[in-house]
Structure formats: C-alpha cells, structure tokens
Amino acid sequence: MIPGSFDYHSPTSLDEAINLLGKLGDDAKILAGGHSLIPMMKLRLAEPTHLIDINGLSDLDFIKEETGYLCIGAMTRESALEVSELIAKKYPILKDTSEVIADPLVRNLASVGGNIAHGDPANDHPATMVALSAEIVVKGPGGMLGGGERTIPIDDFFKGPLMTDLQQNEILTEIKIPIPDGKSGAAYHKLERKVGDYAIAGAAAALQFDGETCTNAGIGLTNVGPTPIRAKEAQDALVGTSVSINDIDKAAELAAAVSQPVGDHRGSSEYKRAVVKVLTARALQTAKDRAEGGS
C-alpha cells in the first residue's frame, strides 16, 4: 500500500515546526513516531499534503522530574519508558502502560506524545494520564493572535474519537504528571486478544493515602467510550476508605457502570463491561499494593 503524495519537511527547531504548521495550514500533519499516522496514510484514511517531521527535535525527548512534576517530552519513545529506571522505580504505571502498547518494534519509534495527540480512545496512555491527572503542554504561534504555550488539563483534552483540544497550529510538546505526595501507588491493567491488538478494555488506577485512608483516587478507562473515560463515581467512592476488598469491588462496579462499551469483534458490550469491572479491581489492588511498598 502506497500513501498519497505529500511534501516532506524536517524542521530543526520547534519554532520552525510551528511556523511551518501555521504557514501550510489545514493540509499539514505532524509526523511524530508515525505508527498511527503512516498506517492511516497507507489506507488513505489520512491524506495530508504536507508532513512536518519532528523526529529531529531531540529537545522533545526527555523524562525528568521538575518542580513537582514528572515531565515527559512528546517525542519520548515508548521503549524509553520501558527501560527508564526512574519510571520503573517511581512511576511503574507508565511502564505497565508502555509495555502493552503494540509490540516492541512499534514501541522503538512510537512516541508518548503521539499516543495522546492522536486522540484514539483505544490508545493506552490516555486512560493512564486521566488516572494520573496529567497536564498536556501544547505550543502554537505566539504574538498578537494569541496562542503561544498553554497547558490543558487532561479532562479537557479529549473531545471525541480522534478529536482533541489541540488546535491545527499547535504541537503537543510535553506531558506533565503531578508527583503525588506521600504514600501513593498506581497501575494499569489491559486485556488484549494478542500482542499488538488494541485493548478489549483497559483500566488505570492511581491512589494516594494518608496513613490507611485514601485521600485521592484516579481511575481512567481505555477503549470503552468515545474518549478515555474518568470513572468519577468510582473515585469518589474510594476517597475516605481504606480501599479494602469490599471498597474495591464497589468501585469496580461503579467504573463498569460508567463505561460505554460498544460490541464488536473484540466482544459484546456486556462482556466488555464485565472486563472493565475485573480490570478496575485488579488495577486498584495493584495500586494499593504498590502504595504499601509491594510491586
């Protein structure tokens, strides 16, 4: 399969990329890891007339802790999250997530920013970032017409299937995850038919505790709605509890209730809703175990 014709641009700075995006207009697309975009171009589901390749922008490739946030550059490869010692030690939910995305060859090029900017509710990072209440940093042209850099709370980022708050002249540059205080743990569980497939369903859970009492809970769901879903009722039900097995069961029921799965070749909606319940319970249990120092 051959993609449609396009003009290739490879800017050497972020500002140059943003200028190009502004100049070339609606027919230009950003090429990050390319592992969603290029397959879509081969199927002619996407036919951009200009591609702006940001793979050369090495300043968008970083994983670092800074002023209360874990900051991940948009061009960080999924494989980098898999092997990062910082991620494995302090943010294992991101390792859980990256290592179930597609397959190892795809992860060598696929980018974290692309996984989010694509806006696909079947992608895995969106639900994780919902659970972690991440902030999405995007950059557009500055000056009189506004724009410049802005930070979008994750709950405002996803607008619908393949639709996000990212404007045509903006580039997603960074994901910022608030570093939780004190005792905390988070985990992502995904059920897939085989390596490389999208999730039948996935559940991300993040918990914070004061002593034995849960003070904050985040739950995000993958591929059971038009966007990643925040299971707010389930979160609220956990705050103030010790996250006992009974509390987890109740929250998992609430998460299943708020999911909106559609029956397809991966299973009926009833089946997927049952999967959401099981995965939410498992993710919460793992998150709790991690908060208590287990793995």
Partner: protein, 164 residues
C-alpha cells in the same frame, strides 16, 4: 510529486537516489536497491517481516519513509553475513528456526537488536523481544532455541566463532 535525493548508508555502503517523499523505506530497500531479503508481509505494521535496523534499532521498514532514513545507517539481513554466517543465521539453520522462511529476515533482525541490548536473555525475554514478529509455521519454539544458540555462540571468545 515531491521528490528529494536521499543518501542512506545501507549495510555500510552509502546509497543515493532521488525518491518520492512518500516512498517507504522497505520499498527503497527492495525496489530501489534490489535487496529483497527484507520482506513485505502484512504491509500494515503488524507482522514484522520488513524489520531492519535503523541506527541499530529494530524498526518496521514499512512504517518509516525512506526520507526519514536520510543520512542514517540501515542494516538489512544481507548486512549480517561476514566471511561466514552470522551466529543468528547459523542458529536458525542448525535449530530449524524456519520452515517457509518468510518471517526469518525480520525475525533475525529483531533478534539482533535484542541480543545487542541483552546478550544473555531468558527464554521469556526472547519471546517478549520477538513478539512483534509473526511466524505462521513454527509455533516459535525452534526460533527461540535458535536465538538461544546464537546468544551462547556470541558470548564465546571471538576465536571460537565462525566469524561475523
């Protein structure tokens, strides 16, 4: 129709050509350079038959534009053999790591990347490492054995090896 001249260092030799911007790396390798060891299987980023090393990293060459490889190093299955077969090639032969052979070039290039990063992988790490490569013949068991054979051989002192 946008075209540009690219120079890609394939298996140690700089190869230049004028290509369409949309030309995929796998087509540059096979059609432009005539290196048909790299296969096209699914063409949809699933099967891994087109796997090559791009600056040492295993990637699916059906999902990279050739222009993205401009100025970079690409290693294909043809680039592995020196005076003798590479231990991975030898392993696949000795341990019956292939039947029809269609997946083999990609399987070997993924294994090369795996062993470069992790010279002594466990069986689980091998299975994980090749999970982006599909084989419809072998059931994978002999492929895993072949990679174990190569890992062992690559860790022997250089003089004991058949050459690389």
């Amino acid at each position: 129709m946008a075209t540009q001249t690219v120079t890609i260092n394939i298996n140690g030799e700089a190869k230049s050509a004028e290509v369409e911007d949309r030309l995929l790396l796998v087509h540059f390798i096979r059609d432009n350079q005539g290196l048909t060891g790299t296969h096209i299987g699914c063409d949809t980023t699933h099967c891994g038959a087109c796997t090559v090393l791009l600056d040492g990293t295993a990637v699916k060459s059906c999902t990279v534009f050739s222009i993205q490889a401009n100025g970079r190093d690409v290693t294909t299955i043809e680039g592995l053999e020196g005076e003798a077969l590479h231990p991975l090639q030898e392993g696949f032969m000795e341990k019956h790591g292939l039947q029809c052979g269609f997946c083999t070039p990609g399987m070997i290039m993924s294994s090369k990347h795996l062993l470069d990063k992790n010279p002594n992988p466990t069986e689980e790490e091998i299975r994980w490492g090749i999970s982006g490569n599909l084989c419809r013949c072998t059931g994978y068991q002999n492929i895993v054995t072949a990679i174990e054979y190569a890992a062992e051989k690559l860790q022997q002192p250089a003089e004991d090896q058949g050459g690389e």
